[in-house]
Symmetry: C2
Subunit: 423 residues, 2 copies
């Protein structure tokens, strides 16, 4: 495999004189960028909340927002083909730059015609910058902290410098480097519609000093990402900037202003959003007042049903989370009208339950199999179970998003939330 | 879970006086049985070989023969839903009594409306008697012998008596018993269209003395299976008898005559078919001359492409084998026109191969994904690969069977074989 290293001449940063190698690399970002093949039109605004209905146009199609971006981490949905994603009415998927640059490599995907051609998804697609995985694996993620496993996992992040990040491949242990410039170049090779600046994703345990220093570096990385994006801009992709600042509201304010003043197409909310629901809400709410009001807003890595209801009211347009397909692998089926959001089909009470997952759905995965059958498949470890439940979960989420959009227009979001999540 | 033990009064054998508990249990089978909802019509016979085209009618539909029965061992196809099986043009599937009686249990499946309702296959279905797994795991299978692993595996067969077989559950170690009567009763509960007598499947290493003794017991078990079948015959199922006798041609002759003289609906060829291709051909050829000429003939557990070409010429009507879905899990894709029958997608040469598996197929699994993409999916262990390749393999086999039937009618079987398996 070829290591993903761009040609030296494509690094504008190489030309910058610096007093020492730890000194900031300051690049002037473009003052404006046009995205001729993209648009985001806000078609309706809720009168009581910041919820809104939008149309997000990309070269691979237009999606309505709020919407949910399903994670095809390594270039494939877990246990689901793209026709199955379409059957579940998914509109947009995401690929992870970190995983794909490692295996099969961006050169290979480019040679095969880009990620759309490679994995046969013909709709809108997003890639992240690769930063999230590098840093969440490097620092230990928020989930690791909560579960107390942070210190036991091998850290793959080797070094963060002003230039970029050195890390070990999860696949074969190779040492790799990702810079703002190479992240953009790799995302160009992958060819997704919506792409990301490189940022460092700070965790809840990072203190204010570190979070501030990291945020400023992420801003410089964002400017470098913008410069590299502008250098090779061909109209096929649109760039999102990312707000960082952890749980520190003054830093968040500064980062909101930073993204607002740059010619990004969209805004993403990244980093730690706090240790409690209250803090989470406070932070997301803050963004809704300070970020660019006309750009699509993506909330990175958040996607429980309750989060969707909470965050669309704060102006979030798109969500992404691995959970719909990940939880399926552990027997969890998402349930409309269940206070817990989901049921576990491994539970013995489903052993002889003849009812389907949800006969009000319009997909065979939800209506054609008894819970007893699915319970049996999990018990004997038949992988068909994963396919059926993953597709059901995706279909539940796409239904959620359709119903949320209809409820925003009808002013009935509170009522819809009570239907989905009864007390 | 409820252990599958029929009520004592349903054992006709209990009423039989015997001098000691090892003495034969001899039951007079019914002299005739009618199968009003079933038929097997031979519509065309090849002039040069024993190949024939048939129509096998069951309560769940009619299939053309020669045909291939795909194995849904534990009540599900490996990585494939029934709609995916239909898309791959499969006509008939098989469930394994041994696995299903253990988990989830025949009582549960009956309560859920039978295996058709449980796994949502609405076409013709076969179940075996459970014997094959008990005895192949007990003795060590032919494959185990070849691979020298026979002695290392834990034997699940505890004891064979005249009454039946005692064995340990693969699932939880429980001790279970299967008799000819309980096998029929369980197969009634499962509700497949085509069902089997209990037999002992002898292996290549069994000597003549054991094979003969075992065959005679299998015949007595067959008579008991027939008697039990007749006792509860409601027209919804049809019973196959099984020829045993190992590699001993005189025993095979005796066993052919035994099945021919019993009112079975179909004939199956079981047991060891020898250690070489020559011996295998000699044994199968022998059956074609001695078994009942008007009944459908099933060859148990054999299903390579070369075997299909060889055995349809000897009058085999149906095949079953786990290989199309099993080999997919190891990266093997079946290939029309490849002397090896298949390719392994894990091979590094497919890393950047942009071609699909076979663009002359009519199924997206075969035409929509590059070998490079499938190679990548196997490399990162994405289970989507198994789904795609399993469906491709099933589709290749159903195409094989369609083309074989057309070639029998057209008298071009030799030419077709050269197309599928060039030298």
């Amino acid at each position: 495999m070829t290591q993903q290293q761009p040609a030296p001449e494509s690094f504008p940063t190489k030309k910058i004189r610096r007093p020492n190698k730890n000194a900031p690399i300051v690049v002037t970002p473009p003052s404006s960028l046009t995205y001729p093949n993209f648009s985001f039109d806000i078609e309706y605004r809720d009168t009581k909340t910041k919820a809104r209905i939008g149309k997000l146009k990309t070269p691979h199609g237009t999606i309505e927002t709020p919407n949910y971006i399903f994670c095809g981490t390594k270039g494939a949905m877990k246990n689901l083909s793209m026709p199955q994603m379409r059957e579940a009415q998914a509109d947009i998927i995401l690929g992870n730059t970190y995983h794909l640059m490692i295996q099969p490599g961006a050169d290979l995907i480019e040679k095969m015609g880009g990620l759309h051609q490679f994995n046969r998804w013909d709709g809108p697609m997003m890639t992240d910058s690769g930063g999230f995985q590098i840093f969440s694996m490097g620092h230990g993620s928020v989930a690791d902290e909560i579960k107390g496993r942070g210190k036991n996992r091998e850290k793959s992040l080797l070094k963060i410098t002003e230039e970029g990040a050195k890390f070990r491949s999860y696949f074969d242990g190779r040492e790799l480097t990702l810079t703002p410039e190479s992240s953009i170049q790799i995302q160009r090779q992958l060819g997704a519609d919506l792409i990301y600046q490189l940022d460092e994703c700070t965790a809840f345990h990072n203190d204010r000093t570190y979070t501030e220093k990291s945020m400023h570096r992420s801003h410089r990385w964002g400017d470098r990402s913008l410069a590299e994006f502008a250098r090779t801009h061909d109209g096929r992709q649109a760039l999102y900037g990312i707000v960082q600042g952890g749980v520190y509201l003054d830093l968040r304010r500064e980062s909101c202003a930073w993204t607002r003043d740059r010619p990004f197409f969209g805004t993403a909310i990244g980093g730690s959003l706090g240790g409690s629901q209250e803090q989470f809400h406070e932070i997301v709410q803050l963004h809704s007042e300070l970020i660019h009001p006309g750009r699509p807003v993506h909330l990175l890595g958040i996607g429980k049903i309750i989060d969707v209801f909470t965050c669309v009211r704060m102006g979030i347009d798109t969500f992404d989370c691995v959970s719909p397909t990940r939880i399926a692998r552990h027997g969890w089926a998402l349930m409309r009208g269940n206070p817990e959001e989901r049921i576990n089909l491994r539970n013995a009470k489903y052993r002889d339950d003849p009812t389907p997952l949800d006969d009000s759905m319009d997909i065979p995965a939800s209506t054609q199999y008894s819970k007893a059958y699915l319970h049996h498949l999990f018990k004997v470890q038949e992988m068909l179970a994963l396919q059926i439940v993953a597709q059901h979960n995706v279909a539940v989420i796409t239904r959620l998003m359709r119903e949320v959009r209809a409820a925003i227009r009808a002013g009935t979001l509170d009522q819809l939330q009570r239907e989905w999540l009864p007390e």
